[in-house]
């Protein structure tokens, strides 16, 4: 499969990048790590005239703790850098935990945190070659008007399959988005739409530039559990991130995020309230697991059956809680 023809733009700096993005809005895509974009282009999922190559923009790289206690992570920071960061491991352990499970070492060297946040949703009926998709009459996410996963409805159920966003949701992360109009800062939890086709609230002339982790999320214990068939390479088939703070043997605060079982990564509603002020018991962990499983709406967008994947959200939540709350 050949790459479609495109013109590669290499902006000198961020301002330049934003300018070029706006100039070609609609016919341009951003190349950061390229680990997802390039295979998808070969499958003719994208046919942009331009690629905006921002890999060399140093101002978008690096993990920078701020005086007010929060930390700023450049969108182009490699997942390997995040997985190995001593600072993050000490203060925000859930993020490096999640980052180190992404794909394989080689792909983590290339892949970026910004790319992982913006990652396209995935589905067995979508991530296929042009010829393959043509064989099934295409699907609602691309070139077609029918969802093969849920043929009755008109909604796309392609699953969001990033590993780091559930961890970032638990950390109450904000992201910074740049456009010719300036920069805006949004809560990550407001970034995703929950629809498989247009899965993020990002205008065609906008670029994710930074991730902010608030000081208030520092010092939480963190655990990420990922369901996959192979120990490496695979996208998550289900993922659970947990942050938890203890005091005097009780849970002071906790948040749970899940991924790969809905078109968006989600925080499990009600989990914090259920856990707050309690000491963790088997029954409590089980109850929270049930809650997480109810939040998950997996469909046959990937390997393994939906029922099994939902079941694993339950088991993994329970196990992650026990691991996070233990001594």
């Amino acid at each position: 499969m050949s790459l479609p023809e495109f013109k590669l733009l290499r902006p000198r700096n961020l301002a330049d990048a934003v300018g070029q993005l706006a100039q070609h809005a609609g016919s341009i895509r951003i190349l950061a790590g390229g680990t997802d974009l390039l295979p998808s282009m070969r499958q003719k999922l994208f046919d942009s005239q331009y690629l905006l190559d921002i890999r060399h923009l140093a101002e978008l790289k690096g993990i920078r703790p701020q005086p007010d206690g929060c930390v700023e992570i450049g969108a182009l920071t490699a997942l390997t850098t995040i997985a190995h960061s001593d600072f993050l491991r000490q203060h925000y352990p859930v993020l490096p935990e999640a980052a180190k499970t992404v794909a394989s070492p080689v792909l983590r060297n290339m892949g970026t945190i910004g790319g992982n946040i913006c990652l396209d949703t995935r589905c067995l009926w979508y991530n296929q070659s042009f010829q393959w998709r043509k064989s099934c009459g295409f699907c609602i996410k691309k070139d077609g008007d029918l969802c093969h996963v849920a043929p009755g409805g008109m909604k796309c159920w392609a699953a969001f399959s990033g590993d780091t966003p559930p961890a970032l949701l638990c950390l109450n992360a904000d992201i910074e988005i740049a456009s010719p109009a300036g920069v805006r800062r949004v809560k990550l939890s407001d970034f995703y739409t929950g629809d498989g086709v247009i899965h993020r609230k990002l205008q065609l002339n906008e670029l994710v530039t930074r991730v902010f982790l608030p000081a208030s999320s520092s010092g939480y214990r963190g655990v990420y559990r990922k369901l996959r068939i192979r120990g490496s390479i695979d996208y998550p088939l289900a993922g659970v991130a947990i942050v938890l703070k203890r005091s005097n043997g009780h849970i002071e605060d906790a948040r749970i995020g899940i991924t790969a079982v809905n078109p968006a990564p989600l925080l499990v509603k009600g989990a914090t309230e259920l856990l707050k002020g309690k000491s963790l018991t088997e029954d409590l962990a089980e109850a929270v697991g049930d809650l997480a499983a109810q939040t998950a709406k997996p469909l046959t967008t990937s390997a393994l059956t939906p029922e099994y994947r939902r079941e694993m959200i339950r088991v993994f939540t329970k196990r992650a809680l026990i691991a996070a709350a233990g001594d």
């Binding site: 499969m1 050949s2 790459l3 479609p4 023809e5 394989s104 067995l124 296929q128 070659s129 010829q131 393959w132 043509k134 064989s135 099934c136 009459g137 295409f138 070139d143 077609g144 008007d145 029918l146 093969h148 043929p151 009755g152 008109m154 369901l227 068939i229 192979r230 120990g231 490496s232 390479i233 695979d234 996208y235 046959t300 990937s302 390997a303 393994l304 059956t305 939906p306 029922e307 099994y308 079941e311 694993m312 088991v315 196990r319």
Partner: protein, 875 residues
């Protein structure tokens, strides 16, 4: 054959063998040493050339248009728009080469490009040759094909009921072939059994996933005057260059002598390149039409469509035993989902039955095998061809029986051993038989007796055995032609060139051939150059499949080398005033026997005066000096070679190998498949743990003992054992082709999950050497026999760990969890949605290609989805 006659015959065979015991030589200088592959440097530095690395001047790129439908009649193909696209040189369709072909003489049912019908999603329809890959891809979109859709069949048991709308008109009930064998008296034996186990096992479809996708470069010599294409040269990633030459000749209607097939480096075959794949012929058709060289390389998706892997197999197995665990009879009904074409299918279904024999002593066998056509890519040969899925069923059932009768699983296998030399009830001759030692080795090394059943909760050990042929005793083309022939030529400076038709596909056959030649000549390995798999240069070898190369091409090499050695010895003996059989060839010298030890020491001490160092003139004078000094007790290899060339005029020889008549099997219908001159044996113990909440299985260690006769290159043998175990583990735990209405849902290495290095267990390879009386230096096969044992060993270990018996492979976490739930009577897990490849009964009821008309969202007016969408449809 009846049991009594067989016993008499086996007794005679044993007596004959005992009288013919030759002492095994163990004093080798190159055989049995772990040496690097002769092509390792090029492969590891990247300088080695695979087919896709090649290019020739003026070369075009070919791209193939595939069918989007599982079963349809082609009403018309319009290529005119594609032909007009700038950069397109030729567009070819089935009409350009309408002759059918197929690997088996009984299965010529394929067309390189579809003629009137397509039979699976991915079937080949047309090919564009253009100046670039992207132009060729664009041109594919401009080809208009009008299809008439036909009912399609996806499940073999459904397909067998079909009476109309057949996949091939000459195959009633979509049945490619069925065989019904009964050896001795199975019914009586079941009646006499103390215990009978019965069960259905299901092994899902897996594929080779070789690293290198198929690639072919075809180039015609163009007549400079009239511009017509003449001789054809084809470079192709193939395991079978001579079959390719033959099938090209058939389809292109050219004499074989006009076609030269060259096999460059091949990045793995595992059976996926062991027959002629349409791409190889399409490249030739396109190159002829374009009058330019054309290269086609499959995308990974196209490799999955070309496939030829292991079919989904349903095994209904019944085993009868006495109370002491002795097997009285086995009955197997095997249904294979063969896909749309015959491929190796007839052979596969026969192997599945024949290889019930030759591992254990089974006095009564009944076998009913059905190879069924379905509208999916053709299945064919894959590592462990035919035996793997039945072995999974058999070894699992044997484990169930052992548990039922309270016999140790290792012990029940020991109680059913053969007593070789013997001929089995289904006509397979077994001479060397290392299985008992294999079992002993894995039992000892894994501390089986101490650990079995005593590991912590959720952890367990399982044992299983397997075997495989060292080449088929009957070639797929019925002829008296030797299966392998090798030529050897030696130059005046002692350089040995071996011309072998054997195809090195990464398994190391070039290295094996070099080792056998060097050992025979007693010369160093770097003197030997191997010219392999080039139909213009090398004599016929039927190919690298059914693990035949070491045994057959090794024997041919040995015979060729012995013939040449005889000529050298005759000349050298004359010079040394002794009889030729007094000479010993070793360490690049030829010595008189009584001085062999001294000679070897002398060569160690003295610097060798060689022509390569001293030059031609000095060598001449050296020879003169030697001549003047009179007869010697020792000559260098080069001196001996020069003497022989002076004497004979040239130094070359030929050796060939054909399996002995006694090894070619019985007389019943289908008896040709299964017999082999020798069988390899394997026993394995796997240690696994099972997570009872998630169903995830982790393989911690596998002890794998393999009887390979003699390990010619031990490190290479170990690599093959580890590779087999690893590939078997893939089939056991993660690998599975998932189909949805004839559409392959995972045609890529991301979703078709071969194990990664993370979950690969420690494998302890144990080499057992039974020294086969007919193998080259006693060697047998080592690349396939170990695979089949891994799957049941893991299944049996899972049973030991958590007490569940898995009847369907792969043992994915959800299948394991479902079985665990069922055992505990807990809430059942619904697995019917989504992953069950048997599920669809109607052809794409939710839209899809039945309703597809044109690109994008233009759907058929009857498509329910479209009607629902209409109110909001503003177009």
């Amino acid at each position: 054959m009846n049991g009594d006659a067989l016993r008499t015959e086996n007794r005679e065979l044993r007596t004959a063998m005992a009288n013919d015991r030759r002492p095994a030589t163990t004093d080798f200088s190159i055989i049995g040493k772990s040496i690097a592959m002769v092509d390792a440097a090029g492969k590891t530095t990247g300088s080695g050339k695979y087919t896709d690395d090649l290019s020739v001047p003026g070369m075009l790129y070919g791209k193939i248009l595939h069918s989007p439908h599982p079963h349809a009649r082609i009403k018309s193909i319009d290529t005119s728009r594609a032909e007009k696209l700038d950069g397109v040189v030729a567009v070819v369709t089935g009409k350009n080469a309408p002759n059918p072909f197929g690997i088996l003489p009984v299965g010529h049912d394929e067309y390189a490009l579809a003629l009137d019908k397509v039979r699976y999603v991915g079937d080949n329809v047309a090919c564009v040759a253009a100046v670039s890959e992207s132009i060729a891809e664009k041109a594919l979109e401009l080809i208009e094909v009008d299809y008439e859709l036909l009912p399609a069949y996806f499940d073999p048991e459904e397909s067998m009921k079909a009476e109309t709308g057949l996949i091939h008109d000459n195959k009633p009930n979509n049945l490619e072939k069925d065989y019904h064998h009964a050896f001795a008296d199975p019914d009586k034996a079941f009646a006499e059994a103390d215990y009978i186990a019965e069960g259905r096992f299901l092994a899902n479809e897996v594929t080779h996933a070789a690293m290198e996708p198929h690639s072919t470069l075809a180039s015609f010599e163009i007549d400079p005057h009239i511009g017509n294409p003449g001789r054809l040269t084809v470079w192709s990633s193939t395991q079978v260059p001579y079959y390719l030459q033959h099938k090209l000749s058939l389809v292109l209607e050219m004499p074989m002598q006009q076609i030269r097939v060259i096999k460059p480096l091949v990045g793995g075959g595992f059976g996926g390149k062991s027959e002629v794949i349409p791409i190889e012929i399409i490249a030739g058709i396109a190159a002829r039409a374009a009058r330019k060289p054309v290269k086609i390389t499959y995308t990974r998706e196209e490799v999955f469509w070309a496939h030829r892997g292991r079919p989904r197999t349903i095994v209904d197995l019944k085993t009868g035993v006495k109370n002491d665990g002795r097997i009285t009879a086995v009955k197997a009904r095997v249904v294979q989902d063969g896909g749309a074409y015959c491929s190796y299918g007839v052979v596969t279904i026969l192997y599945s039955g024949a290889l019930l024999g030759a591992l254990y002593d089974i006095p009564n066998i009944q076998y009913d095998g059905y190879r069924v056509l379905t509208n999916k890519p053709a299945c064919g040969a894959m590592r462990g061809h035919g035996t793997v899925n039945v072995r999974f069923a058999f070894e699992s059932q044997l484990d169930e029986i052992a548990a039922k009768l309270n016999i140790d699983p290792a012990e029940i296998r020991r109680r059913n051993l053969l007593q070789p030399p013997c001929i089995t009830i289904n006509g397979l001759r077994v001479l060397s038989y290392g299985l008992p030692e294999c079992i002993d080795q894995v039992v000892t090394r894994s501390r089986w007796n101490e650990c079995k059943g005593k590991l912590p909760k959720g952890r367990g050990l399982g044992i299983a055995c397997s075997h495989y042929v060292s080449g088929a005793a009957n070639s797929i083309i019925r002829s008296d032609m030797p299966h392998s022939t090798v030529n050897i030529k030696i130059d005046r400076d002692g350089g040995v060139v071996v011309y072998t038709g054997a195809s090195d596909i990464g398994q190391g056959s070039d290295t094996m051939v070099a080792q056998v030649a060097a050992e025979t000549f007693g010369c160093s390995l770097n003197r030997v150059k191997v010219v392999a798999a080039d139909t213009d240069l090398t004599p016929i070898d039927i190919g690298s499949y059914s693990s035949r190369v070491t045994f057959m091409n090794g024997n041919a090499t040995l015979r060729a080398a012995q013939e040449v050695k005889k000529q050298i010895a005759a000349a050298a003996a004359k010079k040394m005033n002794c009889a030729p059989d007094e000479l010993v060839f070793r360490n690049d010298t030829v010595n008189r026997k009584q001085l062999a030890g001294e000679g070897a020491r002398a060569t160690q001490a003295q610097p060798i005066v060689s022509g390569r160092v001293e030059g031609q003139i000095l060598r001449g004078s050296l020879q003169q000096k030697r001549k003047d000094e009179g007869p010697k007790d020792s000559m260098t290899f080069e001196e001996a070679v020069v003497a022989a060339i002076d004497f004979h005029g040239a130094l070359s020889g030929t050796g060939s190998y054909a399996p002995p008549a006694e090894a070619r099997g019985g007389k019943h219908k289908g008896a040709g498949v299964g017999p082999s001159p020798a069988y390899s044996y394997s026993a394995q113990v796997a240690e696994v743990s099972v997570d009872e909440d998630t169903g995830e299985v982790t393989v911690h260690k596998v002890w794998a003992a393999h009887d390979c006769g003699r390990a010619l290159n031990p490190v290479s043998v170990e690599g093959q054992i580890i590779g087999s175990v690893w590939m078997g583990m893939g089939q056991a735990l993660t690998e599975e082709l998932v189909w949805k209405d004839g559409l392959l849902m995972n045609p890529g290495l991301l979703e078709y999950r071969s194990p990664s290095s993370v979950e690969s267990p420690e494998v302890e390879p144990i080499i057992v050497e039974s020294i086969d009386p007919e193998g080259p230096f006693g060697a047998k096969e080592c690349s396939e026999g170990s695979l089949a044992a891994t799957i049941p060993a893991i299944a049996n270990a899972i049973y030991d760990a958590v007490g569940i018996r898995l009847h369907e492979s792969p043992f994915t976490p959800e299948r394991v969890l479902a079985a665990l739930r069922a055992k505990k009577n807990a809430k059942p897990l619904n697995l019917t949605e989504g992953v069950d490849p048997t599920a669809p009964t109607k052809f794409r009821e939710h839209g899809g290609s039945t309703c597809f008309k044109g690109k994008g969202p233009q759907r058929h007016e009857l498509d329910p989805a479209r009607q629902a969408a209409q109110p909001g449809d503003t177009e």
